[in-house]
């Protein structure tokens, strides 16, 4: 009697399924350990020592944050506290955040926590995208902190009548339907002054996360009208 081919043997495919699944799972777990270490939040000491972390310390709110094209990586990266000779963060240039540039590690962490909890409690993600994930009913917030509209000559800052980016954003978050930019408006979500401060800190921190160049060309199209 001719031997049956292994290719039509259920036991063979059952074992194959088990081995392939096991191998893929082990690889995923191993990569998870590596990634977890790389995306753990940095500390203020890292910033003091000039160590770039993919997710920097909450005290990043004390520094100027920009989004610059990096020649080596061939895409934009967040640059914290000015650029050094290699085109990465110099961690030197400070920037006042709600009037202070000396937020301690504990204070900054508390503010970020308030903001992150706020982003969940107010359900931001079911209209906006954060790091590109969420809903598509409102603008992506990944680099919202760097949006020129909130900057010194930006339309949003002018509309709220505030003189700094953070105050303008906080004002908008507390009374969004008072400042309509389009027929589609953000609703009032009962955000308090303190929560708004936290949310702005959360947005500034998110803008400083190394998102591998997403979104591309953010805010570089100033003056362009309707894509022309």
């Amino acid at each position: 009697m001719a031997k049956r081919s292994v290719w039509s043997d259920n036991r063979f495919w059952q074992r194959t399924a088990a081995w392939i699944t096991g191998f893929a799972s082990v690889l995923l777990i191993w990569l998870t350990f590596d990634t977890s270490a790389q995306i753990s939040m940095g500390t203020d000491a890292d910033i003091q020592n000039g160590v770039t972390k993919r997710v920097p310390a909450p005290t990043v709110i004390n520094y100027k944050v920009t989004y610059e094209f990096n020649k080596k990586r061939q895409h934009e990266i967040p640059v914290i506290g000015g650029m050094n000779a290699e085109g990465t963060s110099a961690f030197q240039e400070k920037e006042k955040f709600f009037g202070r540039d000396d937020w301690s590690e504990a204070e900054a962490a508390e503010l970020l926590r308030l903001g992150k909890l706020g982003s969940q409690a107010k359900n931001c993600m079911n209209c906006h995208t954060l790091l590109g994930n969420g809903a598509y009913y409102a603008p992506d917030l990944t680099k919202a902190w760097l949006d020129p509209a909130w900057g010194p000559n930006g339309s949003m800052q002018a509309m709220t009548g505030k003189s700094t980016k953070e105050e303008a954003m906080a004002e908008f978050l507390q009374h969004p339907s008072q400042y309509p930019t389009h027929a589609r408006m953000m609703p009032n979500l009962g955000i308090t002054a303190e929560e708004a401060k936290g949310l702005v800190a959360f947005l500034k921190h998110m803008a400083s996360i190394d998102s591998n160049g997403f979104p591309r060309n953010f805010g570089k199209m100033q003056g362009a009208v309707n894509g022309k």
Partner: protein, 474 residues
């Protein structure tokens, strides 16, 4: 639930699960219509039932009705596969009521409380604000208990009765399905870590464990509805598990391109997620091949009768084979490579894929299972289509495909204007929203949504009444 031909308590419990699933399916479509209308009429229900709330209810009802129908499907097929009554059915029934009560409370809180203060109480009692798994922490714990009870029933029954290949796959798959939910249950200030684990739940559910579940259900359906040979079907099932987990587990990497995670995910995510459509092609071929083979055997006997014992259910199973490949496979592949995804990530394009994938891969086969239950409950030998079946199927399929096309067209202008040209700012976003493709796309999406909903009404009517129709062979 009167006049039931069902002797098995497990199958009775399955019909309860299917009933709640169908109601939640209706709720999903209703809140989807509200959200779709808000794109077209921006002031619609403003500060009453805002888009964030209607959209949350839309996607949560989606996830929950599918989980209900999945539990129902397992309780339905267990007695057939194992040859015994499901072990621990009393606990199963108790858990059903707990699950249903918990879902009701969660929905009422979403609807009437909506948001809370920025502290842990909101996370525990109102919502967690994390897309798809917004359910507050208390409900998370409840769902975990329910899921563990369900897995326990499945394991006890599988170990006591005849453990077929289908049951073995389901046992392995459902424990992973329940276990993965735990990875989405903690709070962290670090949004990169937050989204890293959040994707463990979402991706490893819908692009791994749920797909394997679909493979098992399709295998069961082929055996029961067209008399396909178990040996062949189960061999295919193991090959599908190999391909689905082989591509899907590391395919998780395509969600790690831009959330702060390292660049190596570009290559890993691209390669493995590009392989993800392959098992879906295999499943498609498998279903059609077995159908042709069984019908061919019948034809060879010189009898011109269909081998299909449940026409509506089989229609939905074939739609699943095709829809899974098209919605999850093709529409997913469109934007899975990082060089494309850099621009398409988080646009209406994603939404187009989401609609066709959830529908094609899951809604279809689960509706098919509901028709299997209607057949069993009414003691029908051959369940035929009624006029309502035809209306329901064609309107739902036409509506969802229409929505997908509309959203895809809207997606092109979203991607090109908002992302590629304007660099994703606030102003760039609204420039894209104002384009003709996007505004008209949203109107078409709403119209197609209405058609889908009318189709659903026909479906509900058909599921409730077809059992009494004289159309069938008893």
């Amino acid at each position: 639930m009167a006049n039931s031909y069902l002797k098995s308590e497990s199958k009775k419990l399955a019909t309860w699960y299917f009933t709640v699933a169908a109601i939640l399916f209706g709720a999903q479509l209703l809140f989807g219509l509200v959200a779709a209308a808000q794109y077209v009429i921006p002031g619609f229900l403003f500060e009453l039932l805002d888009f964030s709330v209607s959209r949350m209810l839309h996607i949560n009802a989606l996830v929950v009705w599918m989980v209900f129908a999945m539990f129902g499907s397992v309780y339905w097929l267990l007695p057939d596969e194992t040859g015994i009554e499901t072990v621990g059915i009393g606990m199963g029934k108790l858990l059903f009521w707990i699950f249903t009560a918990a879902v009701t409370v969660v929905v009422l809180v979403y609807l009437f409380i909506q948001v809370g203060p920025a502290d842990e109480t909101t996370i525990w009692f109102i919502n967690e604000g994390r897309e798809y798994i917004e359910a507050p922490r208390w409900a998370d714990l409840g769902i975990t208990v329910v899921a563990l009870g369900f897995v326990a029933n499945l394991f006890m029954t599988g170990m006591k009765g005849n453990r077929s290949g289908i049951v073995t796959v389901l046992m392995a798959d459902m424990i992973a399905f329940a276990g993965l939910y735990l990875t989405g249950m903690f709070y962290t200030d670090n949004i990169s870590i937050d989204q890293f684990w959040w994707w463990w739940v979402i991706h490893l559910w819908v692009e791994a464990t749920w797909e394997v579940f679909v493979g098992s259900i399709a295998a069961y359906g082929l055996i029961t509805m067209i008399g396909a040979h178990r040996k062949v079907v189960e061999m295919w099932l193991w090959i599908e598990v190999t391909m689905l987990f082989g591509s899907g587990i590391l395919g998780l990497g395509h969600h790690y391109f831009w959330i702060g995670t390292p660049e190596y995910w570009w290559e890993i995510g691209a390669l493995f997620s590009a392989l993800e459509p392959l098992p879906l092609v295999a499943m498609f071929i498998h279903v059609l091949y077995d159908w042709g083979k069984m019908q061919g055997e019948e034809d060879a006997k010189g009898q011109a009768i269909s081998v299909i014992t449940n026409k509506p259910a089989f229609t939905w199973f074939v739609l699943n084979a095709f829809g899974n490949f098209l919605g999850a496979g093709i529409w997913g592949f469109f934007h899975t490579l990082p060089q494309v995804n850099l621009y398409t990530h988080g646009t209406q394009f994603t939404s187009a894929h989401g609609h066709l994938a959830f529908f094609g891969a899951y809604a279809t086969i689960l509706v098919g299972m509901m028709y299997m239950a209607v057949q069993g409950k009414n003691g029908i030998k051959i369940l035929n289509n009624t006029r309502s079946t035809i209306f329901a199927t064609s309107m739902i399929v036409g509506g969802v495909v229409g929505m997908t096309v509309a959203l895809t067209i809207a997606g092109y202008s979203d991607v090109i204007i908002s992302r590629a040209q304007m660099g994703a700012t606030w102003a760039g976003y609204f420039d894209a929203q104002a384009t003709t493709w996007l505004t008209q796309g949203m109107i078409w999406r709403l119209l197609m949504g209405v058609i889908t909903f009318v189709g659903f009404l026909f479906l509900a009517k058909d599921l409730l009444t077809t059992g009494k129709s004289a159309n069938h062979v008893r």
